[in-house]
Symmetry: C2
Subunit: 91 residues, 2 copies
Amino acid sequence: MSELEEYRRQIDGIDTELAALFCRRMELVEKIALCKRKAGLPTFDPAREESMKKRLCASFERADLLPYYREFLTTLLSLSKDYQKEPEGKA
Amino acid sequence: MSELEEYRRQIDGIDTELAALFCRRMELVEKIALCKRKAGLPTFDPAREESMKKRLCASFERADLLPYYREFLTTLLSLSKDYQKEPEGKA
């Protein structure tokens, strides 16, 4: 296998893991939204989001990749918020 | 620990895993870009991107979450392309 093929094989493995983690994360987001609705709490918690971002960015391994990671994280959190806004039946 | 706290703890664990996978993926993207430049190949390969998307979306576990996953994947691939475009020093 060429070097390029080997790297692509590794990327494919990572992408499969990312898809499974994304799915599990959205299922948890759904459960959290349900919990909050039952408790009459707002689904979006800006303080929690801010502290998550800070923790994740502070421990991110490569400073030069941080701008890319920030965008990745922003998309992830934005998709979670969109999903939490879906009407009943979902969360 | 309340149900909500337990779900949040699980999300935090997933987010830590996602950050590590994102970092490893970008490192591979960098290596692939270097390989291709050495071989005089273009860094972006639309056919490979299309087949990756098809494979990942076809095997995605929850059909109702697929529109969210598509957006997540689009961002991931777009960030990878942006990184591959960086001048030497990077890839």
